[in-house]
Amino acid sequence: MFLEQFLNGLTLGSTYALIALGYTMVYGIIQLINFAHGEIYMFGAFAGLLLVTVAGVNLFVALIGAMLFCMLLGMLVERIAYRPLRGKSTRLSALISAIGVSIFLSTLMALLRGTNTTRYPDIIHRHTYTIGSIEISSLQIIILVVAALLMIGLELLIQRTRIGKAMRACSQDLEASALMGINVNRVISATFAIGSSLAAAGGVMVGIYYNAVWPYMGTMAGLKAFAAAVLGGIGSIPGAMIGGLTLGVMEIMGVAYLSSSYKDAIAFAILILVLIIRPQGIMGKKQVKKV
């Protein structure tokens, strides 16, 4: 029972982690809480749904299609709503702009598809394996494996490629990176593209896992993923992964052993407790304030 709940928690947590990565990457470079990120995730889920139902492709093609679509969407949002503000405004104005985008996108989807939930078709055969006393569905295995592969891919991209190096440099010091000849705008664009595609993957998988998508699914998922990013230490990529998994496991455990009516409160209560003990998050570095 415990192990099974733990697995459920990991499954949920890995989707949180995928979304949290987008928050943390963008934050690491331009210190913006990208509130539209939850909506990108929602668009990803719908793009996947459309590909599956209209184009009739299989899960993996839908996943890749949704990721590509959100890549473009993320870059578009950055270009229209954030870039014009960069350098000439406070961080809070950028935040309000992000909130504007978030309201715009969720309303757009509500207008296009109605506010009701749409069922995801059963595109993969759900098979339940029993290992000892634990039951695990094929869907959970797929989610865990895909999430793990994406995270490994991201880690390789960040550590081994030229653009990854540029991203690391930008997150250390944006101005110095620009002086070293890094095209900062391109790096930021790439960050949005990568973060958004990870959120899209999360969206498609959550859609299939819970069998439902709706236009306002991004709000709560976005808040919780942001909580996961902060929990892990915002700006830190391994932190977002650990934060997401921790939050997912804790939430499922809380629902299983405490109370299901407080489901949404549990994640935030844990977050507040952790932050009071460790203000910089699990993996965050302690920043010394200097004049």
């Binding site: 809480i33 504007g100 207008l111």
Partner: protein, 291 residues
Amino acid sequence: MDAILTQYIDAYYLRIIILIGINIILALGLNIITGVTGQLSMGHAGFMSIGAYTAAILTMKFGLPFWMALLAGASLAAFFGFLIGIPTLRLEGDYLAMVTIGFAEIIRVFFLNFEPGGKAVGLYGMPQHTTFTIVWVLVIIVILLNAKLLESRTGRAFYAIRENEIAAQASGINTTRFKVLAFTVGSFLGGLGGGLYAHYMSYIAPQDFAFMKSIEILNMVVLGGMGSIPGTILGTIILTIAPEMLRIVADYRLLFYGALLVILMIFRPNGLLGDIRIYDIRKRWFNRGVN
């Protein structure tokens, strides 16, 4: 007064004017925390709901006079503001923002499960004590006290913390005390606004105080110009009227609202009246030609 007004002013317009008044009180409260002291709070609706539920339960179930219930609700909200102010000793920036979001969500989930508050259905049938006169008398009192506060030594300490916390500390300002104080005063006004809101609408439910409500109030503060009383008032008026004007576009209302936020931030990144204080206006009006 109200009887006369209802003869001359259309009930619909009167309603908007009263809502503007309530929103001004809410926004001025948040302005003290976020605009003046620079502590990003994204959970103002949480304080509002505490004030609303407390006041509503006190008038309905205990038959307390309206003003006492209002005061009790506001005081309880202030107490929670004080509690939330304490983690600010250790947290800053977006970590703090996350704690305030988390706090407001926990409060919302609490009220969702709160038997005397009608759970998810909410409370209804509160006597409509909130009238035009009461709201606008309170608005004027709040504005005057706010202006007085911001011009005082305490107000200058608030501004100093926002501009540079280390410099403020070096100048002998007890930053801890003032940050907690800002939260306490700000949430008092949040609770007051909530109590007024409950007794105007005669109906409150947990979803009225969800994340979007906090964001709406934050938008009012940022749009008008952070830290400026006239700015906050202007921002509140615009953002209370805008959704009503946008009723012509019916379903597309929120679409325009979102786009409007982005456009305003692109063209006026520091808010419409960024940092114009009542003090400055008075100086400009009365000392013209002196210099």
